[in-house]
Amino acid sequence: MRIVEVDPTSCVACRNCEYACAFKQTGDFDIKDSNIRVNFYPEERACIPWTCVHCGEGWCMEVCPAGAILRNPETGAVEIDANHCAGCKMCLLACPSGSIHFDKVELVSKKCDLCGGDPACVKFCTSGALQFVEEEEAYSFRRESLDNKLKRLFGLNKRGS
C-alpha cells in the first residue's frame, strides 16, 4: 500500500495541505477540520507535518468498541465509519501519533482516509515535503540524502563546471 510520507526538512509550514484537507472534509478552510496537522515552532525553526501512517496493526482499530474502524481493502487505509462511530474517543487515546481528532459538531472521530487513494494534501503540497509512496519506499529520502553527501565527497573532482 501507499502512505503519505512527510519530510520535516522540506516543509515550510505553508498550510496548503491543511487547507486542502479541510476543504475536502467540509468545503471550508478551517484547519481544525484537517486530518493532516502542521506544527511550526519559530524558536527552533521547525516545521513538522504529521498524519496517519495506517499502522499494520492499528491500535485505534483494536481499541474501537464499536468496530467502526476498518481497513479499506483497496487502498489499505485505516478508515472510520462515521455511521458506526460511537463518539467514545478511545481511538484518540490509543493512536500513538495523535492522528485522530474529534469533530464536536458531528460527535464522531475523524482521521485520514487517503482520499480514496489520491490524497489531496500531497497534491497541494508545493514544497514536495509530502509524497504518496509505497510503504516500503517511505523515508528512502533519508538514505538518498546520505548518498548525496557521499556523492559530493567522492564525485566532486569528476564534475566539470
Binding site: V12, F29, S145
Partner: protein, 678 residues
C-alpha cells in the same frame, strides 16, 4: 448521467501558471487539480487553483456592462457601452489630443499577450501613455539585472549547490518554486535566505540573514568584498567577460564585515560565513531576488550589487547558477518600431528614462499627478484593465481623487473593486478559463497554450474588447484578426510551432533547448557586450556608474516623530495582491488585515495580540489589529503589513513622492511610522 470531461490548461490565479486538469460536468467546471506532465509544477498546486471554480461562478462576478448614472451603476447592453465609450474617447481625442488617453494594465486577469494588446491599442490610437502594475513589481529587478547582465536570468535551482533567496518568499509568492528549491536541498545544496523577516522559506534556511530593511546593497557589497579578499571569485570570467571590476573592487573595499554589520545588523561572523558558503558552492550558486529589495530609495543599485555576484562567482549562465533565458521568437503585437511615440512625451519618461527606455512604460505615480495637475499636458481618459490602484498604488487618497476626476474612466474586471467603483463604465472581463493565450515558462524555455473552457454571453475576452473598440475608433486595421485564436495563430507564424501542435501539448513545448555558457560565443545584451559592474549608460544619464550603496532614510536621518519602520506588501499564500478577499473559505483561513510586530514592541506599547493599533505616517493613518510574532520572526522596531485590504489599506500610509531614482519604484518597504495603542 452528466457528461464528464477533463481538459488541461494553465492556472492563472497567480502569474506562475501551473498546469491544471479542469473537470467538467455538462459543461460546468466542478473541480481542478494539478496536471502531472508539466515540468513547472509536476502535478502540484497551491490551494488558490481550486478556488478558480468559485471565482468563475461567484455570485458577485460582473457579467453585464455597467454605466455610472445619477442613480448609481446601471446595466447597459454591451454594444451600447462600446459605442458610448468610443464616442467619448473620440471627443476627448479631438479636444485634448490622442496623448490625453491612457491605458493601465493590471494583474487580475492574467497578462502575457494581453499586455501587448493594450500596448498595441494605445499606440495605434496615437498615445504613448501605457501604465502598468509593473511600475511597482518586477520592473525593478528586471532593470537591476538587465543593467548588469543584459537580462534577468532564471535560477537553475535543481543543479545548484547553493540557493540564495533574497527578499522573496516563494512558498507564498511562487509556491511551486518551493519544490525546486527543496529538490536542490535534497541533493545537498545549502539554502541561504536574506530577509528582514523569518519568512516561510527562511524556516528551512541553513543561513538566514535578517538584515534591516533596505540595507541589501551593503550586504551584497560586503559579500563581494569578502569574495575578492579571500580570492573566492572567478578570476578568469571576470577578466574576460566583465567591465568595471577594478572600480567595483575598489568601491567594495569599504564594506568590511564589520561595516556591513553596523549597516545591516547581520553579524560580521555571519557575513563571513555567507561568503564562505557561496564561495564553496561556486559556480553552482543560484540567486533569486524577490520584490523585497525593489521598494526602496536605493533599490536598483542594491539589486545591481546582488546581480554582480553572479559574475564574480562565475555562476552566470553556468549549470546550477543563474541561466540567461533564450526568448521565444514569435510575432510581437507591440508597435514601438512601427509607431514610435517617444516625441509625444510619455508621462515620466523624462524623470525615469530607464523605465521608459527599457520597458516603454510610463510612471504611474507621475501619471496620477498629471491627471490632477494637467501638467505637462492633460490626461483625461483612461482604460484600466484589471488593476486595482485604488488599493495597491501608494497614497490611496490621491489615487482616488485623480481617477475619480477623469473625463472618462473605463474599468474592466471580474469583480467590482474600489478602483472600479470610481469608473464611468465597468465592463465584465473574461477569466483565464475563458481565454486562449500563450504562456512562456522561461525557466524551462517552454510555451504552453491555454484553453477557452467557458463562455459567458456579455463577457468579452481582452482581444475581443480591444478589437471591437479599435474598429469603432478607426484603428481597426491594427486588429485584423477575427478572434484570439486567429491572433494566437499569427503570433506563432514565424515559429516552427503551429497552433494545432501547441493545442495538442498541455505539458508545453520546449521552443529552444536549454544551453549554458552562451557567453563563450555571444555577447551579453549590454552596451559593452560584457557584464557591467560599472555602467556608462547610467553614468551618461547622471546616475552613479557603480552600484553604490546609500543607507535608507530611516537609518541615515531618523525622524523622531516616526520611530518605527513599516514593511508593506509581504505576500500571503491565499491572497494575490488585492484579489480573492471574496472567496469565503479564504476568509476563514485569514479573516482580515493585521500588522505584524515584535513582542518587545508590543509589550512597550501595552498591546495584546489582536488589539487594534493606529499606525501613522506623514501621509496618513490606519487602524489595524496587531499580530504579535515570535521574537525570532521579525526585527524589533519593524512592522509588516500586507497590502490589498480595503478594511485597513496600508497604502493610506505609503509615500507617492519618494522613489528609487533609476526605476521610479516607490518606497514601500521602509516607511517611517508612529504606532499607538487605541
Amino acid at each position: 448521467m452528466p457528461e464528464r470531461e477533463t481538459v488541461q490548461t494553465l492556472c492563472r490565479m497567480c502569474d506562475d501558471r501551473c498546469a491544471i486538469n479542469v473537470y467538467l460536468e455538462d459543461g460546468k467546471i466542478v473541480d481542478i487539480d494539478g496536471y502531472k506532465e508539466h515540468p513547472w509544477n509536476r502535478g502540484r498546486l497551491c490551494v488558490k487553483a481550486r478556488a478558480a471554480v468559485d471565482m468563475v461562478y461567484h455570485p458577485e462576478r460582473l457579467l453585464k456592462p455597467l454605466k455610472r448614472t445619477k442613480r448609481g451603476f446601471e446595466e447597459i447592453p454591451l454594444q451600447q457601452a462600446l459605442d458610448e465609450i468610443a464616442e467619448r474617447l473620440l471627443a476627448i481625442k479631438d479636444k485634448h489630443g490622442a496623448r490625453s488617453i491612457s491605458i493601465w494594465k493590471g494583474e487580475a486577469i492574467g497578462f502575457a499577450q494581453e499586455e501587448d494588446m493594450a500596448r498595441r491599442f494605445v499606440h495605434a490610437l496615437g498615445s504613448p501613455n501605457y501604465f502598468s502594475n509593473d511600475s511597482m513589481c518586477y520592473n525593478g529587478r528586471y532593470f537591476g539585472y538587465r543593467l548588469v547582465e543584459g537580462s534577468w536570468p532564471v535560477p537553475d535551482y535543481e543543479n545548484s549547490r547553493c540557493v540564495v533567496i533574497w527578499g522573496a518568499n516563494p512558498p507564498h509568492a511562487h509556491p511551486n518554486m518551493t519544490q525546486m528549491i527543496m529538490r536542490a536541498r535534497k541533493a545537498g545544496a545549502k539554502l541561504i535566505v536574506v530577509d528582514p523577516r523569518m519568512s516561510a522559506i527562511a524556516r528551512q534556511a541553513d543561513l538566514h540573514a535578517d538584515l534591516k530593511p533596505g540595507t541589501d546593497g551593503a550586504l551584497a557589497l560586503g559579500l563581494i568584498q569578502q569574495l575578492i579578499e579571500t580570492q573566492g571569485y572567478d578570476r578568469e570570467f571576470v577578466e574576460h567577460y566583465t567591465v568595471g571590476f577594478t572600480e567595483l573592487a575598489e568601491y567594495a573595499k569599504a564594506f568590511s564585515p564589520e561595516r556591513v554589520e553596523e549597516q545591516t545588523g547581520v553579524a560580521a561572523a555571519v557575513v563571513r560565513e555567507l561568503a564562505r558558503t557561496i564561495a564553496a558552492a561556486a559556480p553552482r550558486v543560484a540567486v533569486y531576488v524577490g520584490n523585497g529589495p525593489e521598494h526602496h530609495e536605493n533599490g536598483i543599485n542594491n539589486i545591481r550589487a546582488v546581480a554582480c555576484l553572479d559574475a564574480i562567482l562565475g555562476a552566470l549562465d553556468r549549470e546550477g547558477g543563474n541561466r540567461l533565458v533564450e526568448g521565444f521568437k514569435a510575432n510581437h503585437l507591440t508597435l514601438y518600431d512601427e509607431i514610435p511615440l517617444e516625441h509625444l512625451g510619455p508621462i515620466g519618461a523624462d524623470r525615469f528614462p530607464v523605465l521608459y527606455g527599457f520597458r516603454q512604460e510610463c510612471h504611474t505615480m507621475t501619471g496620477i499627478n498629471t491627471i490632477l495637475s494637467g501638467e505637462p499636458y492633460p490626461i483625461r481618459a483612461m482604460i484600466l484593465t484589471a488593476a486595482n490602484p485604488a488599493l495597491t498604488n501608494p497614497n490611496t487618497l490621491k489615487v482616488r481623487e485623480a481617477l475619480g476626476s477623469l473625463d472618462l474612466f473605463v474599468v474592466r474586471d471580474l469583480f467590482m473593486t474600489p478602483t472600479a467603483e470610481l469608473a464611468d463604465y465597468v465592463l465584465p472581463a473574461a477569466s483565464f478559463l475563458e481565454r486562449v493565450e500563450l504562456h512562456t515558462h522561461a525557466k524551462y524555455q517552454r510555451i504552453t497554450m491555454t484553453r477557452k473552457i467557458l463562455k459567458f454571453p456579455d463577457v468579452q475576452d481582452e482581444y475581443q474588447f480591444w478589437h471591437d473598440l479599435a474598429h469603432r475608433l478607426g484603428i481597426g486595421e491594427y486588429f485584423p484578426w477575427e478572434d484570439e485564436t486567429e491572433l494566437t495563430r499569427w503570433i506563432l507564424e514565424p515559429t516552427d510551432i503551429s497552433l494545432e501542435r501547441a493545442a495538442a501539448h498541455p505539458e508545453g513545448i520546449e521552443y529552444t533547448p536549454i544551453r549554458y555558457r552562451k557567453w563563450e560565443k555571444e555577447p551579453f545584451n549590454t552596451p559593452s557586450g560584457k557584464v557591467e559592474f560599472s555602467s556608462q549608460y547610467l553614468k551618461d544619464l547622471g546616475y552613479p556608474a557603480l552600484p553604490e550603496y546609500k543607507p535608507p532614510a530611516y537609518l541615515e536621518s531618523p525622524d523622531p516623530e516616526y520611530p518605527f519602520v513599516l514593511i508593506t506588501g509581504a505576500r500571503k499564500l491565499i491572497y494575490y495582491h488585492s484579489r480573492f478577499r471574496n472567496i469565503k473559505r479564504f476568509r476563514t483561513a485569514i479573516p482580515g488585515p493585521e500588522v505584524e510586530l515584535h513582542p518587545e514592541d508590543a509589550a512597550a506599547l501595552g498591546v495584546a495580540d489582536g488589539d487594534s493599533i493606529r499606525i501613522t505616517s506623514r501621509i496618513g493613518s490606519v487602524e489595524v489589529p496587531a499580530k504579535i510574532k515570535s521574537a525570532v520572526e521579525i526585527l524589533p522596531g519593524t512592522l509588516q503589513m500586507t497590502h490589498g485590504w480595503k478594511e485597513a489599506n496600508v497604502n493610506l500610509l505609503t509615500h507617492d513622492d519618494r522613489f528609487d531614482p533609476i526605476s521610479g519604484f516607490p518606497l514601500m518597504k521602509a516607511v517611517e511610522v508612529q504606532v499607538e495603542n487605541v
